[in-house]
Symmetry: C2
Subunit: 372 residues, 2 copies
């Protein structure tokens, strides 16, 4: 039992506060390390790697930081040089934000009755808001989507060139699952991960199979804005620190996810740094916690928990994504994660039946307006 | 092919306009026969009983009046005396509205966040707004329901006494499916209905089985307010005239039906004689047609069509309710009736999954608010 779970953790008291490192002209953004969000009401607790209390929290699907972790020790030596030498000639998925592209994209959006179409300016250059390319192809009302981010596959050497370029003009974020194109040294490091710990605890946590180990390499200041994943995530920083804001699944209605068919599915429509309370009044009820994590620590991000990830430094990290596992026995009232799954299934099912995104919107208003 | 389908029909041009016969103090209600509703834009067409045009309209699920109908000729002699003599000693379902009960019910409703709770005064005495007793038992938020109408089973003689009572203090409406308690004379009349026409056309219309023949006996001025049924209805006046306002299923969102779990399921929340446009703004888009029908005519009321029924006289009528029949081949965009079925199923399914009416409301807002 840890009496002082925050001791020695990056996010704990006594941690030196780094200086602001980025100001993109909005006048209040300090790079995300010291900015005080009024919706953040606490810190994610931090425990030793094998503290039973921590492991029990994970089983309960509550975020926790594990310190002194021996899960990816063999990768603690990974830096850009080492990776450049050993990662091999495969191609890597890199997201690119480009100032020139933003200037070209600043066209007037078409008028639309869709809630999503009201603020479709490109985000600041350091925001990497994920979108699903298949859903973009299927999107009927294109006025509801505006992004200049592109996903490009490139060699690691090409990525490095861009990574070290002029960050006021272009920003990059590598996000690529490790695969069999890596060189023998990286493969050896990978094999030496603590797979027995992972296998044992996956069972204990009642998770499904491991789906991937995503390698993430991002620049200081890059932000992955607020979203949730449908997988359990053990997030392992290897280089640099990240500040992560987390909201439990009960915050679903306060964070206004895009419709399931929208390319930005699973992302919040709310800009956490400048919330539009007119469009998103219930965001005032959102309450989250935060974690600042660095090398040697692991952050558990539970399935369906919202997370907003700020790179406090240039960062290298790797994660372990697992499927959610068997469904819990049904107890009433239902848990938020069960309701989120229902909401998503309803949206998918109705769209499948109606075959038209505008009709989906219309039908949902048939159900709710003046009735519920 | 009828060139002048309105000729000789009650609702057609040239029909003498009866005098107003009821004013309940609201200052504008004229009994419903001459009141000009601005949302009524036309009349239901009227054809000869076996006009192929009419029969085709029925097949297309469009309301139509059939005149010179030979479907219930053997019942055209039914009046209160004849029924009193021959209908037998069975018990009949009678809805009762009572002024004394209304005075007792005028308590302050509890505060509630439910849309339905905002106007729960008892309706005027002549309004017979149906409710489902099982759903009333299951209703969680009782502040959303207020009715003084009771359903009492009684002999026909007991009904007649009330029928001829003081209508400013009590109003009654008999609505009872014909069953095997009727005396031999009524049974004989019933057997002489034109069952071969009914059977042949049920097949032609692609309807399901006959479910019941409802006998309706109501007082002049009694109103069955706007609702839809989930059955095909051939409505046959035997005595007295009715004025019926009809809205096609596309009007579903404009007429704001109560939630499916509410006792007033399938009823409009909108008071057609005094619409609350603040709560029900889309009612301004409602568009309907009207029919005035009397003995010897049949009004076809298609499944899912809204109808608001005003007794212009003391009335006796009988209907033929049929199940809807096989589902039409799926074509896009879906028809309103298919969407209504979806809406109802979604509400039922979600309530079944959540087991809580307030959670249903909450979840629907999770889906829609700020998103669709
Ligand atoms: Zn994520
Ligand atoms: Zn009806």
């Amino acid at each position: 039992m840890s009496e002082t779970p925050f001791r020695d953790c990056l996010g704990g008291p006594g941690t030196p506060v780094p200086q602001p490192f980025l100001n993109n002209g909005t006048g209040h953004y300090d790079g995300g390390d010291t900015h005080n969000y009024n919706f953040i009401t606490g810190n994610v607790p931090c425990y030793d790697f094998n503290d039973p209390v921590a492991l029990n929290l994970i089983k309960e699907q509550v975020p926790v930081i594990l310190k002194g972790a021996d899960l990816v020790s063999s990768a603690m030596k990974w830096d850009l040089d080492y990776l450049s030498t050993h990662i091999g000639g495969g191609r890597f998925a890199v997201f690119i934000r480009n100032a020139e592209a933003d200037r070209h994209a600043l066209v007037q959006p078409q008028s639309s009755s869709n809630p999503q179409s009201q603020s479709v300016q490109p985000e600041p250059l350091h925001i990497f808001k994920y979108f699903d390319e298949k859903k973009l192809v299927a999107l009927q009302d294109r006025s509801t989507f505006q992004s200049t981010m592109v996903r490009v596959e490139m060699t690691f050497q090409e990525f490095l060139k861009r990574f070290h370029g002029d960050r006021s003009q272009e920003r990059v974020y590598l996000q690529q699952p490790l695969n069999n194109t890596v060189g023998p040294q990286i493969a050896s490091d990978f094999i030496q991960f603590n797979w027995s710990w992972a296998a044992e605890h996956k069972r204990e946590f009642n998770w499904g199979p491991l789906t991937s180990n995503l390698l993430l390499i991002g620049q200081k200041g890059n932000i992955t804005p607020c979203h949730f994943d449908e997988q359990q995530n053990l997030f392992c920083p290897l280089r640099g620190r990240k500040r992560i804001l987390l909201f439990n699944p009960e915050n679903f209605p306060y964070l206004y996810p895009y419709p399931v068919h929208h390319p930005n599915d699973r992302q919040s429509q709310v800009n956490l740094d400048n919330p539009d309370y007119g469009r998103f009044p219930k965001f005032a009820m959102a309450r989250g916690v935060q974690a600042t994590v660095g090398p040697g620590e692991i952050l558990y991000i539970p399935i369906h928990w919202w997370h907003h990830v700020i790179n406090l430094d240039d960062t290298i990290a790797i994660n372990f994504w697992h499927k959610g596992g068997g469904s819990a026995p049904v107890e009433y009232p239902l848990q938020a994660r069960q309701k989120i799954a229902m909401v998503r299934n309803i949206e998918k099912m109705l769209l499948e039946a109606l075959q038209d995104q505008n009709e989906l919107k219309e039908l949902l208003h048939w159900i709710v307006d003046g009735r519920y």
